[in-house]
């Protein structure tokens, strides 16, 4: 009977193809509705509002923070010409921090995902250690680093006494400390996706590489790394995008100084202090646009669509 049922089912599916398709379409719309509503409400609406703000104009004789709707495209020109060093610095910091997080994160992910396979306990422990920092607010952790790297911390003192750091220089408030903070804060976002793709890596490919005259380093570059590329792409995106918009690490309260201000800090200041809402909005739109372009080029170039 199973045979008959199977045959009948096949025929029914073939003839009823069209209606099934349509019904499937409505089900999909129904399932998507809450998500679409959410996007409309919480993403599209603020975006439109942001775009409109960025084009607002200050009327004749208006006080601080008084703007009316308009089409003042020059806001963008002003934002770029005034703050281009901050924009450049943001992307420079984010890029450096992403590369640093990759260099630190990949070996960690490799250790957990491949080396530690033989010891499940070690694997679980190491994973926990990677996630553990999330249990403490990242503001607190960044403040803790300010203490550690600060002038009275043992690191700065040691470097001073060894003469490796001139006595009139600090660690906190420099490019280094901000990039360090960004790297530190985003390492888990780098490690976890890479770990996920390495964990699935079949050792037999490595053995095949070895069998085909590839020494371990060659096997790594030709087999392991390409196979973990999807993880590397997600990890770098999860690090680069938030790092470019970050304003905590670079702020003076945390690891930065006036000289390390990123776009995020500028937006923060122009919006809350000087109340130049259109400029702040224009900077936000610019930041978003540049990130979008960079990510699009990056994803296309790394050709992730080929990789499972």
């Amino acid at each position: 009977m199973a045979f008959a049922a199977f045959g009948g089912g096949g025929a029914a599916a073939a003839t009823a193809n069209e209606p099934v398709h349509l019904r499937g379409g409505w089900v999909a719309v129904g399932l998507l509705a809450p998500g679409l509503a959410y996007l409309l409400l919480f993403f599209l609406a603020p975006l439109v509002s942001l775009l409109m703000t960025s084009l607002q104009v200050a009327p004749e004789g208006a006080g601080k923070g008084e703007y009316v709707p308009g089409f003042e495209w020059s806001n963008y020109a002003t934002a770029i010409s005034t703050y281009w060093p901050h924009i450049l610095r943001s992307f420079g910091y984010a890029l450096t921090a992403t590369v640093a997080a990759l260099l630190v994160g990949y070996p960690i992910a490799y250790f957990i995902g491949v080396t530690a396979r033989k010891w499940p306990l070690v694997q679980a422990l190491a994973l926990t250690l990677v996630i553990a920092p999330f249990f403490i607010s990242f503001l607190l952790r960044t403040l803790a680093w300010k203490q550690i790297l600060g002038d009275n911390g043992w690191i700065a003192q040691t470097l001073h006494s060894l003469g490796w750091l001139p006595s009139d220089q600090n660690i906190v408030g420099t490019d280094f400390s901000v990039i360090f903070g960004l790297t530190y804060n985003f390492i888990p976002f780098m490690v976890l996706p890479i770990y996920t793709s390495l964990e699935r890596l079949d050792r037999r490919y490595l053995e095949a590489g070895n069998d085909l005259y590839a020494r371990p380093s060659t096997t790594f570059w030709r087999v392991t790394l390409p196979l973990s590329l999807p993880g590397v792409v997600s990890g770098t995106l999860l690090t680069f995008i938030p790092a470019a918009g970050d304003y905590i690490n670079a702020s003076q309260i945390y690891l930065g100084s006036i000289n390390t201000a990123m776009v995020g800090n500028v937006i923060d200041r122009t919006f809350l202090e000087s109340q130049e809402y259109p400029i702040a909005a224009a900077l936000s739109v610019l930041l978003m646009g540049i990130i979008l372009v960079i990510v699009a080029i990056y994803v296309k170039r790394s050709g992730t669509e080929d990789l499972g």
């Binding site: 079949d202 037999r204 490919y205 053995e207 095949a208 590489g209 070895n210 069998d211 085909l212 005259y213 590839a214 020494r215 371990p216 060659t218 030709r222 087999v223 390409p226 196979l227 590329l229 080929d306 990789l307 499972g308």
Partner: protein, 401 residues
């Protein structure tokens, strides 16, 4: 060890000395000694789980022996890294790189060794396995049999001094399989490479190999030319694993100079001494089914001929070139007879009373005995058997630790 930039000029010989391989809680290889001369086609035959893949992995360097030595071309490579051994493997699981095209997969080894013109050579290897038209595909876009042929091309293209083939034709249909067997044999003879070929297809082993080794439970039971193994098996396992055998157990009752006489259920059966592993006590003797003749009446006693019977034909099955008769002989059990189909239809029908006879020189005497339960076609690889073995190993391990 691996000469960069050039192919191996000739095969290398392989020698395994006293190899043991223990996995945690399981002994996969138990004291393996094996010598494969340079330029030979050596087949390793055995049931699933007997340690064939493990043996190849040891030779390739992907696994370290617990003890023992591996020599390739006279050099001790026991501690040499896999990528430095002049060896390539066709993996049982193919292990094709998923992120590379078929062509890139095949050219991989050539590029690592900086062989001139890798792309052209890779195309040639793909032509050999008739897959050149799929060179730009990814492995996951191929069928299982196509993937297997790519794996074959990827190893063969390197012309290694020693090629390890782990069931390289298992996923192919009969026609393609025969064709690939011929290609492989050609490649091997052309350059005089050494092939170590693992299979559980006994016919493949018999037709392709110069030497066949039958492996069972991590040990080599018997080794020799295909004819030798077939005509003169030395153990019950070999007698049943390579083709079929009729086996009988009985006490040695007499000695006629060149032959011993074994009493099988009251009937004297002669076996040449030279073909018997043991000459006294309880022994198991055998004869191949195609060596037996069926007689509708009791044959005249003649020198040099053994006769059993009368028995009753309980099954007749037509297999094409021959017909298989199953004859039940009281006190002895079932005897299988293959008869060439020289005439139309079976010579005798089911239910007929028959006698079977064979020439004394076709019989053989084995070194071990049939298992107690008397099942003459017992399969050593039943899950029960494996479970029992594993249990014994575990107990042993526990006692040692």
């Amino acid at each position: 060890m691996v000469s960069g930039g050039a192919f191996a000029e000739a095969g290398a010989d392989l020698e395994l000395r006293e190899i043991h391989k223990r996995f945690p809680g399981f002994t996969a290889i138990e004291s393996l000694d094996l010598t494969i001369p340079a330029g030979s086609f050596f087949a390793l035959l055995g049931p699933s789980g007997c340690g064939k893949t493990t043996t190849l992995r040891l030779v390739a360097g992907l696994e370290q022996p617990t003890s023992g030595q591996i020599l390739i071309g006279g050099k001790d490579v026991t501690n040499v890294k896999p990528y430095r051994r002049p060896v390539n493997t066709v993996f049982q699981s193919y292990a094709l790189f998923p992120h590379m095209t078929v062509l890139e997969n095949v050219a991989f080894g050539l590029k690592r060794r900086r062989i001139a013109d890798p792309t052209r050579k890779a195309h040639e290897a793909l032509e050999l396995v008739e897959l050149d038209h799929l060179a730009q595909r990814k492995p996951q876009q191929l069928s299982g049999g196509q993937q297997q042929r790519v794996a074959l091309a990827r190893a063969v293209v390197n012309r290694p001094a020693l090629l390890l083939l782990d069931e390289p034709l298992g996923a192919l249909d009969l026609k393609l399989r025969r064709q690939m067997q011929l290609e492989l044999k050609n490649i091997q003879q052309e350059v005089g490479l050494t092939f170590l070929h693992v299979t559980h297809d006994q016919e493949e082993a018999m037709t392709m190999a110069d030497t066949v080794a039958v492996m069972n439970k991590g040990e080599i039971e018997q080794m020799g030319s295909p004819e030798e193994l077939y005509e003169l098996p030395k153990t019950v396992f070999v007698a049943n694993f390579l083709g079929q055998s009729n086996l009988f157990t009985g006490d040695v009752r007499g000695d006629n100079g060149d032959t011993i006489v074994v009493e099988v259920a009251g009937v004297p059966v002669a076996v040449p001494k030279a073909r018997a592993q043991r000459h006294r006590g309880l022994v198991t003797i055998g004869v191949r089914p195609e060596k037996l003749l069926l007689h509708p009446s009791r044959p005249e006693p003649a020198a040099g001929v053994n006769v059993l019977g009368p028995g009753r034909v309980i099954d007749v099955s037509f297999t094409g070139v021959s017909t298989q008769y199953t004859v039940a002989v009281p006190g002895i059990g079932e005897v299988i007879v293959f008869a060439q189909n020289m005439v139309f239809g079976p010579v005798v029908q089911a239910g007929a009373e028959v006698w079977v006879s064979w020439r004394v020189e076709h019989g053989f005497g084995l070194a071990d005995e049939l298992p107690d339960d008397g099942d003459r076609f017992i399969d050593d690889t039943t899950t029960g058997g494996i479970a029992q073995q594993t249990k014994e190993e575990l107990l042993e391990e526990l006692e040692e630790g």
